[in-house]
């Protein structure tokens, strides 16, 4: 009997745009920006091509995280409106393609970082990828409401890696930059998860609003924004940055905390009544861009 070769039609037909979409380009832009800020805030500048390659590797590492996240969560993504049109749940690509692409991109980015910049930066990049994929995506996210609290560390690595790529060593300022993003992540994601709570509930993801309810989540947002604000101002208070950063950090953090007050006072349970949460979520993205922009301005203009 002759065996009939079976091929998978979707894997042959994967479009390059879908492969690109696996990398979550919008998330990557924030990663690249914070990594670039970490690199530009460093006291020594590497040659342009080394700095460029370091940022490229961090971007590719973030892309690998996005691809591996979508590979692992394809079933969950299919249940959520926000993610149902992604290449895997929409059936435009085979899961294996996403896995191979993610692993290949991750390994390539780490090796390239080691060769171009230094192996400490490469190690940190590898740790951040593994942390995001294994600790956050596979372990924490489906199990605990604290997923985003601990998992936030994965997104906090880029400025630290950018700094280490430039200097070859860890210092107090990049550790504070790590702390800022680590503490910024929970209020940022909880604001989002409040107005897409039903999506997470349908997918069985134990996000805080699903497990503890909107009231508890709003209190968490307010109380987490306080240490975040303190961490944001700390580089200035400790004399690690100048007044440009200090004034910007103070103003932005006051605005951030001020925007959490209407969230705390809000009693709405439906997305239509969650204007304060949507406003806070939108501002939280601007906050991080502006804060790290001020850091770079402080280093180069002061």
């Amino acid at each position: 009997m002759t065996s009939i070769p079976i091929v998978n039609h979707t894997s042959l037909a994967a479009d390059w745009r879908d492969i690109f979409a696996l990398t979550k380009p919008r998330v990557m832009s924030l990663v690249v920006f914070t990594a670039l800020a970490g690199l530009l805030a460093a006291p020594v500048m590497p040659p342009f091509v080394i700095g460029f390659t370091a940022i490229l590797c961090i971007a590719l590492g973030a892309g690998a995280c996005g691809a591996l996240n979508q590979w692992y969560e394809a079933d969950i993504d299919a249940k959520m409106r926000r993610t149902a049109k992604r290449p895997l749940p929409a059936g435009r690509m085979e899961r294996g393609t996403a896995l191979h692409f993610g692993v290949g991109l991750g390994v390539f980015s780490v090796l390239m970082m080691g060769v171009a910049a230094n192996w400490l930066a490469a190690t940190l990049l590898a740790v951040s990828i593994l942390f995001y994929v294994i600790v956050y995506t596979m372990w924490l996210k489906p199990r605990t409401a604290q997923n985003i609290v601990i998992g936030g560390a994965a997104g906090a690595f880029p400025p630290l890696i950018g700094w280490v790529a430039a200097t070859g060593e860890v210092a107090p300022l990049p550790l504070l930059l790590f702390a800022i993003i680590f503490l910024w992540t929970p209020p940022h994601f909880w604001a989002l998860s409040l107005f897409i709570r039903s999506d997470y509930a349908n997918a069985g993801i134990p996000m805080l609003p699903v497990v503890a309810g909107p009231g508890s989540t709003r209190r968490h947002i307010f109380f987490y924004s306080l240490p975040m604000a303190a961490a944001a101002v700390a580089p200035w208070l400790l004399g690690l940055t100048g007044a440009i950063y200090g004034v910007a950090a103070l103003a932005l953090s006051v605005m951030f905390v001020a925007l959490t007050v209407p969230v705390l006072a809000n009693r709405a349970t439906e997305p239509t009544g969650m204007a304060p949460e949507k406003r806070l979520f939108g501002f939280s993205v601007i906050y991080l861009f502006a804060l790290f922009g001020a850091l770079v301005a402080d280093r180069w203009l002061a």
Binding site: I6, H9, P46, P47, V49, I50
Partner: protein, 50 residues
């Protein structure tokens, strides 16, 4: 969506070939860029003792 080899319609085959060509072209450009990048990394590291 699993198919037996040779069962694609001519239109589907054309779509597959178009996408393969696009991917191959992008891969070629990326490999070329990688070689150039590696060249400049080497120059930077040897020139400035990095």
């Amino acid at each position: 969506m699993t198919r037996i080899v040779g069962e694609e319609s001519p239109t589907e085959t054309e779509v597959i070939r178009t996408r393969q060509r696009a991917r191959a072209r992008i891969m070629a450009w990326m490999l070329g860029a990688f070689v150039i990048l590696l060249f400049f990394i080497t120059i930077a590291k040897t020139g400035q003792n990095w």
